[in-house]
Symmetry: C2
Amino acid sequence: MDLKIPFTGQKRLVIIGGGFGGIEIAKELKDQDIQIVMLDKNNYHTFQPLLYQVATGGLEPGSIAYPLRKFMQEIPNGIFRMAEVTHIDTDTQKINTDIGDLHYDYLVIATGSKTNFFQFPADVSGKMMEMKDIPQALNLRSYILESFEEALLTYDETKKEELINIAIVGGGPTGVELAGALGEMRKNILPKDYPELDFRKMQIHLFEAGPRLLAAMHPENSDKALKYVKDFGVNVWLNTMVTGYNGQEINLSNGKIVRSGTVIWTAGVKGNPIAGLPETAKAGGNRILVDEFCRVKDTENIFAVGDVACMIQDKFPKGHPMVAPVAIQQGDLVAKNILLLMKGKDAKPFVYFDKGAMATVGRNKAVMESKGMKMGGFIAWLAWLFVHVMTLVGFRNKLTVTMGWLYNYFTYDRTLRLIIRPSKRKDD
Amino acid sequence: MDLKIPFTGQKRLVIIGGGFGGIEIAKELKDQDIQIVMLDKNNYHTFQPLLYQVATGGLEPGSIAYPLRKFMQEIPNGIFRMAEVTHIDTDTQKINTDIGDLHYDYLVIATGSKTNFFQFPADVSGKMMEMKDIPQALNLRSYILESFEEALLTYDETKKEELINIAIVGGGPTGVELAGALGEMRKNILPKDYPELDFRKMQIHLFEAGPRLLAAMHPENSDKALKYVKDFGVNVWLNTMVTGYNGQEINLSNGKIVRSGTVIWTAGVKGNPIAGLPETAKAGGNRILVDEFCRVKDTENIFAVGDVACMIQDKFPKGHPMVAPVAIQQGDLVAKNILLLMKGKDAKPFVYFDKGAMATVGRNKAVMESKGMKMGGFIAWLAWLFVHVMTLVGFRNKLTVTMGWLYNYFTYDRTLRLIIRPSKRKDD
């Protein structure tokens, strides 16, 4: 069955995914003579860099999500459909979705990434928590709080230890920022909420397989981040891989065993490709191989941008880092290239402009670097806040995030400690 | 198994339910020589009067919920447990909960009310939506938005009509306020979000079995409310009962049939009692019969307050109205009476101080009455906003609700249009 989309006589660009890359393309092409069909399995854009704040009760989901239909109001030549794309047929130029099939003239795959558990089988990875989307972040929030509630009920000290400990796997920005936020919660909030629990016994573990945290940043910043998380009382295990987990005990590559009922996996992501592309376009980490124009290898009119795209360039033999700026810049390029192709001109190659990197570690502390400049501490933390607020989509989100942060900062509080697990259509 | 609660040597008061009544009692007794154990199946207090704003995307759940553990931080002699109470044994003075048994010296049942579908069997009521708690309100929000998404996909006009229509059963404050909010959404938001749908065809129905809306208020205010909702284009059916529903078609007592895939039932509530109380304490509408001191009939040390309590007084032959002020005032009285009983003094009887009633109908319009004074329009609407903000628990909630309302008011927007259905522990 064909998907019901108005036929305008224009060429049709279908964008799969309303993340940073997808919305950039739509914005760039909004006044052009081309129909833009945006598809996403959710009806909102997610600002992933702040998911950990939703998970730790500092922000509401509505503050970091933006309704895609509201975004599409600004795109007069745009149409939105909530849909999951299951297959691409490059011969007929059609995609199959859960709500019907659709013809495209140009196609952009901007589906981002998902958690990569690597070698772990489903019965092990299924016991770990993820934090790649809003339902997962809300779920993590509820799960951690439920564990504390349960810890109050037991006389068994081993069981209690298991319930109050939290382990984070992966010392990248997500792992480090989450560890900082949890360290702050343990210090300022949890002892007041749970006066009966002894939070000196609560262990927050951070496992990193490599020799330093924030491996993508300068070693000096890695050292600073290490100091900051340690100051929050986080146990950092460098050069340590998680080799197994049974729901209670974590096996480590150094032979040790650590006890925790909550394991949050932030140690890897992989692309989220769609079936039907040429075999030759398969790259490592589930990504889609694209040329320097972001065009999917061995296709004519299909592009991929952001986390899901793997573009091999001299300085990036394994593709670009899977971060928002790459997605935005590639989105920008693809918009321009589609216009060039429509005019019969040559496409332009991608040149990554690396603005730098930053990560925050709880209250008042962050590290950042840009163009050789390195900085840590309070100023870096303010810069981090500023950059994140400015990058948020929509005035309301900028406002509520700023207000929420001001409130949390001055009250040392994170009031969003609600255990909410919405039900199906009909409640219990 | 006994619930693990520190033994302090004090008398133990167990409060079941952290609603308006329950938290009032804890506040009143916070500096007294008595242990207070607060039990609730959720870890948050819900400000029910604003649930309809969560359902219609105007407010975040975190703005109208307040963590009970944060509340209990102010109660030095208080303990909180997230628990569902299943049975009361009045002989041994013990309650059974899903997390263990607990002895009480004094017990207060403040469990509120739940939806009453009256004669409808589960296969009919199961097709209707409720709005009595936060998961239900979030669920309703997602369900309505999903229906619009689905409406875009069909060429079948009957099916489309079914998907975009909304029916509300019950012309009390909840039904009227919800109808107003939906009328506003249809006017200001939905046409922009769904330019492909013809919202002139969207019907919002409000069914009321009695001869007027807001039956508890003065007829003049009923007339005003009727005018206000009609101005928002709501189809009001007075003297009309819903007699059946099959998921698509609503059967009405006047023989007519109305088509809507969404039916929200606000036409009745019933008490939420707990098993184990004397048979003689059973009152109409699932409520618990209490004497003038709020003591459960034929018990010594068990009280009930708020929606679940039925106190027959001269002016209230069927018990008091099931509204927040009654719960708060009864909570206040029970706190005082427990202190009096502990001192061997006589308890004091309940005297209801009726502050009046109010209801809002969308933007700029409300009705209110108090002590013979009646008012409608913009001033009543401002008063409604003020009273609701002031009644919210916690400074942060007062702040975020005020900010949210200001934003919504000046932008004519409700940005919280996210379809979020959090998953179980592990995401798909």
